[in-house]
């Protein structure tokens, strides 16, 4: 390759798109490093505090697409205070100052403000794509500035954000000249929607492929929208409590029939049975179905719908479908690759929903299954062993038994053997979430067999520090380790400090780690940010004489090349 001019090498690099591969290329030699950095357009930053925008831009001046992740994963479950950090404004300010030609911004778990959205919309002439996942801090006013100012907007994708809906007219802020929309997802908005503006917008967007409406869009509007956009591929519908009258129903059916390219369906926060059945004609084309918010749909209607979906690859559903429903899925959806079964009753009322039987049925019926997230009431080792045998191809295996520390309900044993079977059989396993009663033994198995494991979530598990040590020593590819309510302490934490340099982050909450242990870690590893999160005054930890032995509430540490962050709130103590 050294005999080729740079331009040729660069052209070759164009075909290398994955971040991992590009990172690997840049390490080969200085000249490749140089060529790679000038040609890199897409950058992924898994932890926004691992680097700062200035350094990013110095290395990749031709940046066009940036992905940033902010808060740690457990922030999703309210374990991280709202004000912890993850502010996007400094990034946008820096990018704006540098005049880089930003076209795409994807953010996850970050704090976004209207100010940052406004700045974003004004600073980058070619800005095309905004994807916000689980973000917060902004309102529809911010969306209005994006709509108004981004002349070439292609994607506006808002997934599960907390948006203050000012019920303004953000949809009418799209100028009449805006015809480039491909993705429009505002399902998470709670307020009323200007239907007229929406219909006009959809009508003048011939490239629109993905449209996800919020709950405020009524059935007849949906039918009209589908008529305007028969080319739609991905549709998110609203909330339909009542069965439509016969005329509306016929219109809806007619509109749906025209959408022959429709492959993905979601929404249905509420769906009266007839609304659902109107979709039956296109079900045979569907590859993705998300009914996980449809709390009010009875299992039988769900099953009727699913029986038509023979080509389904991805299914997100509520556990109200039951084991029987999962058996139907197993016998119908032979192409299934990803399944998520969410709990419908979050107060732990004990309504059974799904058990190990559903999981086994799925594993037996769906040979292509590689990703699963399964909330259930109970599990057995035998079932897990069977699942492992049936599906050795798991990449992501996340099992959540709703009651913490619950053992095998038949043998009353811990579930070590079951999970052990999973990690042993699934050689490509990258992500694993554990639950149920677990001893150190399961971690021994994980350390021994889970060679590809990158992310591990542990809750209420283990007996001693050995558990955590098995994992840290064994899983060479570990990137993100998050632990809560498990008896791992300083010994495990400090055993191999250099390990954390190979990982993105470690989260430990309600474990046995002490303040002095964390301090020692911080001393040994200045390239780590060791953050202690306490909701009270951190000063109190010092005052208390027992300072060293005081257990730390929440510990979050991550490697960084830019040192301590300056934007931490008072209850976050960076050692």
């Amino acid at each position: 390759m050294n005999y080729f001019p740079d331009e040729v090498i660069e052209h070759v690099f164009d075909f290398v798109t994955s971040h991992k591969d590009r990172n690997a290329i840049s390490l080969v030699c200085k000249s490749w490093y140089k060529i790679e950095r000038y040609s890199r357009q897409k950058v992924f930053i898994g932890n926004c505090y691992a680097i700062n925008p200035e350094r990013l831009l110095r290395r990749f001046p031709c940046l066009k697409s940036l992905t940033l992740k902010g808060k740690p994963h457990f922030a999703d479950f309210n374990l991280v205070p709202h004000e912890w950090g993850g502010f996007v404004l400094p990034w946008i300010e820096a990018l704006a100052r540098s005049r880089v030609g930003l076209e795409e911004l994807r953010l996850k778990r970050m704090v976004v403000t209207d100010e940052s959205l406004e700045l974003l919309s004004r600073s980058f002439v070619n800005f095309k794509s905004l994807v916000l996942v689980s973000c917060e801090g902004f309102t529809t006013d911010g969306l209005a500035s994006i709509a108004a100012n981004c002349r070439h907007l292609r994607d506006l994708d808002l997934q599960e954000n907390e948006i203050d809906d000012h019920r303004g007219q953000w949809l009418s802020c799209f100028p009449d000249t805006c015809t480039t929309l491909v993705t429009l997802n505002f399902a998470c908005l709670e307020g009323e929607t200007n239907l007229v503006a929406l219909e006009r917008l959809v009508a003048r967007s011939p490239n629109l492929k993905s449209l996800k409406l919020n709950r405020a869009v009524p059935l007849d509007a949906l039918a009209r929208l589908m008529v305007c956009a028969p080319q739609i591929v991905d549709l998110g519908v609203g909330s339909y409590e009542n069965d439509p009258d016969s005329e509306s129903y016929l219109k809806l059916k007619a509109a749906i029939k025209k959408c022959t390219l429709l492959r993905s369906l979601s929404g249905f926060l509420e769906a009266a049975p007839h609304c659902l059945s109107a979709f039956h004609p296109i079900c045979h084309n569907l590859t993705s179905l998300n009914l996980s918010y449809a709390a009010e749909i009875h299992g039988s209607h769900l099953i009727k719908l699913i029986q038509h979906c023979k080509k389904l690859q991805r299914l997100w559903i509520l556990d109200s479908i039951g084991d029987k429903g999962l058996e139907v899925v197993a016998s119908t959806c032979k192409e299934l690759q990803e399944l998520r079964v969410f709990p419908s009753d979050l107060l732990g009322g004990g309504n059974t929903a799904v058990t190990e039987e559903g999981l086994v049925a799925i594993s037996a019926g769906c040979p292509k299954l590689h990703s699963i997230l399964y909330f259930c009431q109970q599990m057995t080792n035998a079932a897990l062993v069977t699942v492992a045998k049936n599906c050795p191809n798991f990449i992501r295996f996340r099992l959540c038994i709703l009651e913490p520390n619950k053992p095998d309900h038949v043998t009353s044993q811990p579930l070590d053997e079951g999970f052990g079977a999973i990690v042993k059989a699934c050689k490509s396993l990258r992500r694993l979430s554990l639950s149920g009663l677990l001893t150190d033994q399961v971690f021994l198995y994980i350390g021994m067999y889970a060679n590809q494991l990158e992310m591990l979530s542990i809750a209420f598990a283990g007996d001693t520090d050995k558990g955590m040590l098995y994992v840290l020593n064994g899983c060479k590819k570990m990137k993100k380790l998050e632990i809560r309510d498990s008896p791992f302490g300083d010994t495990a934490l400090l055993a191999d400090v250099s390990k954390y340099e190979t990982m993105r982050s470690l989260w430990m909450s309600s474990c046995e780690v002490t303040l002095s242990g964390c301090k020692r870690l911080a001393q040994k590893a200045p390239w780590l940010n060791v953050e202690i999160i306490n909701e009270n005054d951190n000063n109190r930890m010092e005052e208390n004489g027992h300072e060293g032995r005081q257990k730390v509430d929440k510990l979050y540490l991550y490697r960084t090349v830019v040192g301590t962050r300056m934007d931490a709130p008072p209850f976050v103590w960076i050692l």
């Binding site: 309210n78 926060l269 520390n405 498990s486 005081q550």
Partner: protein, 338 residues
């Protein structure tokens, strides 16, 4: 109604030592609760006792407070609750505060039961820790569940304190099903967005199993001048009084000089209309945005109707609230809805 008598005497003692009230701006029982939980910097009574009140009352009140809050460390002192709303009986289902870390999952079941079943966090354990409660480590770990394995790291946990910063507390959710499982923060691991969406959906539809308020109903609470907003679960309160006191606690840090506020209000029977007076007295007005997008004064309509229509709360400065929807309009609206 021995409760009331005790409480009457409580109130008089409380108002006679206004300085001790400074930590909590609650007119009615802040003193008691702080001392109950052993916040030693609040009173001279000492951290291990339950109440700073007159000697003769102390024993009874202590006992009372103990009974009512067994296994519910950090929850509102029931006596205080009762003072706020003497119309309703002392409630066992205390409501959680929402600290910086929302802990909407933290609903603790009836204490006695769980204590008996060998949980780690028996009330006696928490009592022992009062003496060292100085560091008042916020904790959301006061879960209790029957098969607690040895993995629970309990010893370091202090009882969540009832201080104005709004520490989390476990509550007794008496409306939950008989299984009455304790709930843990962040468990099951489901995104808040999902929880909220499902909860709203459930609320909107007819109650299938007759369980009122089967989901949480979170609304944002903003306050003029506060740097950030909070969220509260309206379903976790039974009346305006509880909501008011919870909000007070939450936003204490942002208000000025509210020490020793009018104890007179405490003596009144706090009906819904009186809530306005209470808040007006402090120069703040609690308002809410309803389904139509209008900003209304809190307290005009019956509580059940209120939580049905309330989308957002806002604590406005009294002067800003002039011209806000007055009672007649609210009644009109409620009539229309009925």
């Amino acid at each position: 109604m021995s409760t009331e008598e005790e409480l009457q005497s409580n109130v008089s003692v409380a108002s006679s030592s206004p300085t001790s009230n400074c930590i909590s701006r609650n007119t009615l029982g802040g003193l008691k609760e702080h001392n109950y939980l052993g916040l030693s910097d609040c009173s001279s009574v000492g951290s291990s006792t339950l109440s700073p009140l007159a000697e003769d009352d102390k024993a009874t009140i202590s006992l009372k407070a103990t009974e009512l809050t067994l296994g519910l460390p950090g929850s509102q002192s029931p006596a205080r609750d009762t003072e706020l709303n003497l119309l309703s009986p002392v409630q066992l289902d205390e409501k959680p505060f929402f600290p910086l870390l929302p802990s909407k999952d933290e609903i603790c079941s009836s204490s006695q039961k769980n204590n008996a079943s060998g949980n780690k966090r028996g009330f006696s354990d928490t009592m022992d820790q009062f003496a060292e409660a100085k560091s008042s480590v916020y904790t959301e770990k006061n879960w209790m569940f029957p098969e607690a394995a040895a993995t629970q790291s309990v010893t370091k946990k202090d009882v969540p304190q009832n201080i104005p910063k709004g520490q989390s507390s476990t509550t007794n959710n008496s409306s939950s099903p008989p299984a009455a499982k304790a709930q843990i923060v962040g468990w099951p691991p489901v995104r808040s967005y999902r929880k909220n969406t499902l909860a709203t959906t459930c609320k909107n539809s007819d109650e299938v199993d007759g369980r009122p308020g089967s989901g949480a109903l979170f609304v944002k609470v903003s306050m003029d001048g506060a740097p950030y907003l909070r969220k509260v679960d309206l379903r976790s309160y039974a009346n305006y009084g509880e909501l008011s006191s919870a909000l007070e606690k939450m936003f204490t840090t942002f208000t000025l000089g509210q020490c020793g506020s009018n104890g007179a209000a405490g003596k009144d029977m706090l009906s819904e209309t009186k809530l306005k007076d209470l808040l007006n007295g402090k120069d703040y007005v609690l308002t809410y945005e309803d389904k139509d997008g209008d900003w209304m004064l809190v307290g005009d309509v019956p509580w059940e109707m209120f939580i049905d229509v309330c989308k957002k709360l806002k604590i406005m400065k009294g002067c800003d609230a002039i011209g806000l929807a007055a009672a007649p309009r609210a009644m009109e609206k409620s009539k229309m809805r009925a």
